[in-house]
Every structure is written in C-alpha cells, then in structure tokens.
C-alpha cells in the first residue's frame, strides 16, 4: 500500500486554497478533504499534504449555524458536517468548532416521533444519519444532548425481520449501505454485542489505537 502511495499524487490534488479536488476534473468538496485526511492518517503520511491549508479550507466552509457544507457558503448538511468534524478531529483542530452551536443544530436532527435522525431541518429521518450525526456529536462531546434509547429503537425498527438487513426508514427496502450505518450507529450507542468503533474513522477502536499509538 505504501508503495502505491508514492505513485498516487495526492498532494497534486490539493488546491491553492487547501481544498482537494476529487480528480483531474477539479470538483471540490469537503468530502474529499475528509477522505484524504482519513486515509493519510491511517497510512501515517499526513505530511504529504499541507495540513494547515487543508484545515483553513475546511474552516472556511463553516456556516453561521455552526455546521459545515461541501464548499464555502454551502448549506450545512449532516454528511458534510461529519466529514469536516472528522477531518478536524483527526488533525487535532476541533477548537475551530463551536461545539455548543453545532451540538444544538445536530441534536435537533432527532425526530420526536420516531427517534430517528435527519440530515437537515424539515427532512425525514434516515438510518444513515445515525452515523453522520451521531459520530459528529460524539467527536464534540455533545451526544448526551439526544435521546439515545429512542434512536436505538429507530434503528432496530428499520430492520427487515424476514430477510435481514437494515433500511433507511422502517418498512423500506434494505441495502448494504444502510445496514452498515445502522450497525455502526448501534455500536456508537453502546448496543450490547457490537464492537466499539472510533467515531472519526468508523473503524474498530482496537484497530485505530493499534495504528496510531505505534510510534
């Protein structure tokens, strides 16, 4: 893996303003910032990019509601928030996050009726936000602001009890994507029998610890 990392010009995909393009066609999105930072951190070669500029770009995507969008000025969205908060967490820059402001925005994603989380105001709850919103809340130590038991119930309600798997909403079609996010959400909610995952990497904690604590 390290060998191929030399060939792949990650640094070449970083733009002047610290953002990352997904490929040569230049589309910029903070999701790419997260992907680069997450991968390079695991491979222990974050020095291949300009971390300070990458952080500055992410901070420029911070909105007045405390959330983050895909580009500067873009509306806050739970998926983008996960990417930005995750990238800031991995690089030790969470002091740029207004934890109380963002924490309130995130905790208001919880639907009173179903207990599920949505990705933006006035949208429907969806199991995948059990990872995006939940991880973000955990990383900024505000997860106690949602009602965890209700969220567990929502995820379990999204199971297909006949054929297995988890769907985006109760009684909708299951898929691998939502099954993964549902299980990951249960892990972050300390559901018994599920291994603990790290909120920034969504990898098991024993794996991230092993990688990052080995000097």
């Amino acid at each position: 893996m390290f060998f191929y990392m030399q060939i792949l010009d990650i640094a070449g995909l970083q733009n002047e303003d610290g953002s990352f393009s997904g490929d040569i066609w230049g589309k910029v999105d903070t999701r790419f910032s997260y992907i680069v930072i997450c991968c390079l951190s695991i491979l222990k070669c974050l020095d291949k990019i300009n971390v300070k500029k990458a952080v500055d770009y992410i901070v420029s995507c911070k909105n007045l509601d405390g959330g983050f969008g895909c580009t500067p000025g873009a509306e806050s969205h739970a998926g983008q928030i996960f990417c930005c908060v995750g990238a800031l967490a991995i690089t030790g820059n969470l002091h740029h996050v207004d934890k109380d402001l963002l924490g309130w925005w995130l905790c208001e994603r919880q639907d009173y009726e179903s207990g599920g989380l949505n990705g933006r105001s006035e949208k429907l709850p969806d199991v995948c936000y059990s990872l995006w919103v939940l991880s973000s809340l955990i990383m900024i130590d505000r997860v106690h602001w949602i009602e965890k038991a209700k969220l567990v119930k929502f995820i379990l309600d999204c199971q297909d009890m006949d054929n297995g798997g988890i769907s985006d909403r109760p009684n909708y079609a299951v898929d691998i994507f939502h099954t993964y996010f549902g299980v990951a959400g249960l892990s972050l909610l300390e559901y018994p029998g599920v291994k603990t995952i790290d909120p920034a990497y969504a990898l098991p904690v024993h794996v991230t610890n092993r990688i990052l604590f080995t000097k």
Binding site: D126, D141, E147, P199
Partner: protein
C-alpha cells in the same frame, strides 16, 4: 437506495429488473471499451448519453464526455458556431439527466464545467434554477449551482438578497433560503455596505424571521437564523478584557515553597516553589498577539523583562480567550510592590475574526512578598475537615471579581432595545419549546449586557424556571436544557459578591487557601470561570459533570474534587493539563472505564489527533499499558500531582494503580494511603 418501499418482488418485476440490468451492463461494457480506447465518434458519444439517461450518476461517463468535448474542440479550430453547438449539446444532456435525478452530483458538475468554458447566459441558468427550485426548494445542488453562477457572473449580493426575500415570502419553511440570506447579509454587514448598518438592519431581520417562527413554532427553518441574529446583536466585534488575576486594586501575598506562618490572611496567598506567580488575562473572545510588547508590565519586581505569554488552548492553536505569563519574585527579598499592567500598549492583540483590541486598558495590583518561615507541609488534604467560613466583611470580594469593562465605545442602545423588543414578542409563545428556549436565551443575553449591579441577577430565577419547564416539555433534549440550566445557575452564583461568598471557605490545612464549594448542585456543566480565577481549591463533588472543559483558565487551582460525577475517561480531564499548579485531584466514584465509547477522545491532545508526543521511559517499557490507558498516561504525565484518588471507578484496580505510580513517580497519596518509598 433511499426511499424505496420494502416489498416482496413478484416474478414479473424480477424479470423486468433483470432485463434492465442486462441492458445496463451491456451499455456499460461497450461504453468502457470506447473510453479505454479513446473512441470519440458520434456513435460512441451517443452511447455515453444513453448510459447517462438511465443512470445519471455514471460518473465516468461524464468524464468521458469531457474528454470527447475537448477532443472535438481541438479539431474544429475555434469556429464559434461549432463550439456553441458542441457545448449546447452538453447542456442539453445535463438537463435531461437532471430530469431523471435532479440531485446528480455528476450532472451538476458537468454543467459547471461547461459554464467555466464561458458558455451559456446567466438568464438561461437562472431560468433553469428557477425550474429546479420549484421542484425542490431545498435542493442544495441547485443552491450551490446558483452560488457558482452568481460568482461567475458577478451578480450583486443585494440582488441575491432580494431573491431570498422572494423565496422566503413564498414559503418561510425554506432553511436553504434562510441560510443563503445569512451568508449574503453577514457579508454586506461586514462591508458596511449602503443600507446595511447593523443597528437598522438587524431589527428588520428580527421582524422577518418572526413570520417563520410565529406561524409554525415547530418548524425549525427560522430557529437558527434567529439565533444568528441574537449573536449579531449581542457580540461586539472588538475584543474586550473580561477579567484578570490578579485583578485591579487587589493585593496578593507571595511566598516561597514553605508558605506563610499560619495567620489568617485577608488576601489570596500564593506559594510557589519556582518563585513565580501567574498573571492571567481573560478576554471575551479568542485573541492572538498577546506578548511582552502588546502587554507591558511596570513594576519594581526584578527579572520581568521580555516575559513569555502563552495561550491556554489546544496545542495547535495560537489564539485563546485566556493568556498567561509568569512574573518572578524573590522571596528572600520581602517587600511590597505595585504592579501596573497595560494591555494593548501597542497594536497587535487581534481577535480570531480579525478585530483589534483597541483602547489600552490599565490595571494595578499590589504584590506583598513575604519571607518563608515554616517548612512545607506534606499532610493529606481533606475535603471535609479544616475549613473556616469566609469572612465576608474582612475580604473585599469585589476586588476579586471586578469586571471593569470599558464599554464606552460600544453602541449599546440599539442592542438593548432589540433584546427588549424580542423579550416582549417571545413572551407570547410561552407554551412552545422554541418560545421558551428563545426567551431563556434572550434573558441570559440581557443579563450579560447589564452593567448596573443593582439590577443584575434579578432575572436568573425566571431563566432557571424556563429551563426546568423545557426539560419537561421537550424531554428528548433534557440534557441540553440541563447543561444550559447549570450555566445559568453558575452565572447567578457569580453575579454578586454576596451570592458568591456563600460558597467560599478558607482551608486551614494549606495556609488559608481560598476554597469554592459547588458540590451537590446537580451541575452538568462548568461556566463563569472568568469570575473564578482567584480560586485555589474547588469542590465540584456530587454533581453531574462529564468533563473539566473550562477549568483550564484556573491557573491558581491546586486542589480539585470531582468525586461522584459522570466523568467517563481521563481524556475528559484533558483541560487539567494546563492547570500546572494542580497537586491534589480526586476523581473517585466516577464512570471511568465504564463506557466503551469515549466522547472526549478527539478533544484530548494525543496521537489519535496526530499530536506530536515524545516517548519517555514509561512509554518505552510499557507500550501495551500505554495503549490501554493512553488517556490517563497523557493527562497524568503532564501534572505534578501529590495526591490522587481514583477508587470507585471501573478502571480502578492493581494494574491501573501500578501504572499510575509509574507515570506519576512523585505521588505521595493514592486513594488515601501514603505511598512508601
């Protein structure tokens, strides 16, 4: 993947689905062959279009089309008509793909790519956007594209603001429009553009957002906009000094490691082995540039030129609300010294938002250096015995909690009027969650702006009641309201000398240390620390605290009791690494080790957040234990604790205790037992 109802598929549906898959696979493999072989014939290009019509998210197909376009353009020698027809075709393909899926990332990006070649008119694009906004006014792809077009064509922010007016008037439940409005307005306000003075504009915006909140209090669209308006009303751009230690007009006693000969002193006594005492500056917002040139010290205490100032903050940050330096004194040189501090002596102190600390602010205190007489005591510190009641008469607390803010330059009138007007409005929404919450926030804001001591503190009971009501009304967010309640409670406690002195004591056992008792108060959150910088002993036991966030500013703190709280890990105590005076720490009977999920993992400076760390002997000899107890290792090794209590946690046990002894070799007392040599 999203929004498909779950149902058992019948044979006809399965057959149709299989046939579609076969067709798609065939198209895909033909397409990929064309792409790999770089075939850009008309048929090949048309094939890619067929693929995109079925699946607009076939990302490679969009990239192929870009390559095909560039290939075509290179052949036609810039005949404008031909160029236009080629690019028009791309726009048509995008539009058709968007009809299939108006949220296709690939389609929108392709259109941006075409436009970047200087093609299409702003009119066309705005018309297209109108179409999509009508289909879904929350489509963030469309909003992002709109911002792209606006920037490309230099459309004015005022025009775009009018557009948000239209969208909001059409349907206030449009968070995307409110968001866009906030971006445009904050830019116009920052520029001081014509017609965009905060004192006129912000009150107008309050009126506008009322339409959203009052029509349907359960709709969140206006909530966050209103909160932003409140922030604009309350927060002054210019950084101010909130408090300091020592504070203006105070007298402090300084001595060497041995401390004074027991007499009950009127003032704060500071004992130091290193012969220096902290000078703390607490600003109302994060600032950078505090240094020996921007902050001057005028005193006869020798050896204090070119002091080094440090921000009390996370490792990577050069800005902080709290800055500290250490002034040296010689205890064998007993005398009284006046110390004059001038903050902002020269320009350079700048907030993280780029605003300068303007008027230089001066304060003066007296340092009374004493000769050391007694040997230092190594007795165990008790949290129950040896305390004297604070003599409110002998001690002028006001000198300790003076908050002498220079507010002359701040335009307060419109701010207070706006808050008062909002308080009146929101009184009406008293049975809705957002009504109660907003009212509580408004009352807190009003308290923060009051300077008349006589009136301060009066509304806190009302604020606390509002949060209690909210805990019942919106139980899903109970803990949020609980935290806000704790903050309001602490503001109330510290709002006057009289209420604060009810919680103050003196600890005889360590030469009359100033002790603040805030135990058994159901506190879930720490606040008002800027008013508590003088505290040396703090009892926060029997509360519901989850972390020590906020305590990092308490540079005088030498004893801290956190027993019987809800601390889940040592990473939650990371802020204590800044409290260099800390000698006594009690974290017994908490939840350390009980939970598998660590919510402060990334708020702690460690290798997990890619912080540099230097390997020491403990790390070299016990890599396994360091990984297992990583947060205890990183937090404890930075402290010089003499007394530690960790019993009553799941992590407690022989293995952990012996690890702690390795990490803190100078520990004298562990769990109440004196350690042998």
């Amino acid at each position: 993947m999203h929004g498909r109802p779950r149902k058992a598929s019948n044979p006809e549906e399965e057959a149709a689905s299989a046939a579609k898959a076969v067709k798609l696979r065939s198209l895909q493999s033909q397409f990929m062959k064309n792409h790999h072989d770089k075939i850009y014939t008309e048929e090949a290009i048309e094939l890619s279009m067929k693929l995109l019509e079925i699946n607009p998210e076939a990302y490679t197909a969009w990239n192929y089309r870009k390559l095909a376009v560039e290939d075509s353009l290179s052949r036609i020698e810039s005949d404008p008509n031909l160029v236009n027809s080629i690019l028009d075709e791309e726009l048509r393909v995008v539009e058709s793909a968007l009809r299939q899926n108006f949220k296709s990332y690939g389609a929108w990006h392709h259109r941006k790519w075409v436009l970047s070649k200087g093609h299409s008119s702003i009119e066309n694009e705005l018309k297209l956007l109108d179409k999509f906004q009508r289909l879904d006014s929350r489509n963030f792809h469309a909003w992002n594209y709109r911002r792209f077009v606006v920037e490309l064509t230099n459309r004015s922010e005022q025009d775009e603001l009018h557009y948000t007016d239209d969208m909001i008037n059409n349907n206030f439940s449009n968070y995307s429009a409110w968001h866009n409005r906030s971006v445009l307005l904050s830019s116009l306000l920052a520029q001081n553009a014509d017609g965009f003075m905060p004192n006129e504009r912000i009150p107008d915006e309050y009126d506008l957002v009322h339409s959203a909140i009052f029509t349907d209090p359960d709709d969140q669209s206006g909530w966050f906009y209103h909160l932003w308006l409140l922030d604009q009303t309350l927060n002054v751009e210019t950084p101010l000094l909130t408090s300091s230690w020592p504070s203006h007009g105070s007298t402090i006693n300084l001595s060497g490691a041995g401390c004074l000969n027991g007499s009950s002193s009127k003032f704060t006594t500071f004992c130091s082995e290193s012969g220096s005492f902290p000078l703390i500056l607490y600003f109302d917002q994060a600032v950078g540039g505090v240094s020996s040139s921007t902050v001057t010290i005028d005193s006869e205490l020798k050896g204090n030129e070119d002091l080094v100032w440090e921000p009390i903050s996370y490792k990577n940050s050069q800005v902080s609300c709290v800055w500290v330096t250490h002034l040296k004194y010689v205890s064998s040189d007993p005398c009284e010294y006046k110390v004059k501090i001038r903050v902002g002596n020269s320009p350079g102190i700048v907030s993280s938002r780029g605003h300068n600390f303007r008027a230089p602010y001066e304060f003066v205190f007296t340092a009374h250096v004493h000769d050391t007489v007694k040997d230092s005591q190594e007795g165990i510190v008790s949290w129950t015995d040896g305390f004297d009641i604070w003599d409110a008469k002998s001690m002028d607390l006001n000198s300790l909690i003076t908050l002498d803010q220079l507010q002359a330059e701040i335009d307060f009138k419109w701010r207070q009027e706006a808050i008062d007007s909002e308080v009146e409005c929101f009184g009406i929404l008293s049975d809705s969650k957002i009504g109660n919450l907003t009212l509580a926030r408004l009352l807190m804001a009003r308290e923060a702006m009051l300077s008349d001591d006589a009136v301060k503190g009066v509304r806190y009971e009302e604020i606390l009641q509002l949060y209690n009501d909210l805990m019942a009304l919106d139980s899903s967010h109970y803990q949020y309201y609980k935290d806000e309640h704790s903050v309001a409670f602490l503001h109330k406690v510290t709002s006057s000398s009289e209420s604060l002195s009810r919680h103050l004591f003196r600890y005889r056992g360590m030469n009359n240390l100033v002790c603040l008792r805030l135990n058994n108060l159901s506190l879930s959150r720490i606040a008002s620390v800027e008013k508590l910088l003088f505290v040396q002993m703090l009892d926060l036991s029997h509360n519901e605290l989850r972390s020590t966030e906020g305590l990092e500013a308490m540079q005088l703190l030498s004893c801290l009791n956190l027993s019987h709280n809800k601390i889940r890990s040592f990473s939650a105590l990371d802020s204590l690494r800044h409290v260099k005076q800390l000698k006594v720490l009690d974290v017994s009977d908490n939840h350390i080790g009980k939970h598998s999920v660590d919510t402060t993992r990334y708020l702690c400076s460690s290798p997990l957040s890619n912080s540099e760390w230097s390997q020491d002997d403990v790390g070299r000899q016990n890599p396994g234990l360091v990984t297992k107890y990583w947060d205890a290792y990183f937090v404890l090794r930075d402290l010089k604790l003499k007394q530690l209590d960790i019993a009553g946690n799941e992590i407690s046990g022989n293995e952990f205790s012996s690890f702690v002894l390795q990490v803190v070799p100078k520990l004298v007392w562990l769990d109440g037992q004196k350690l042998g040599n």
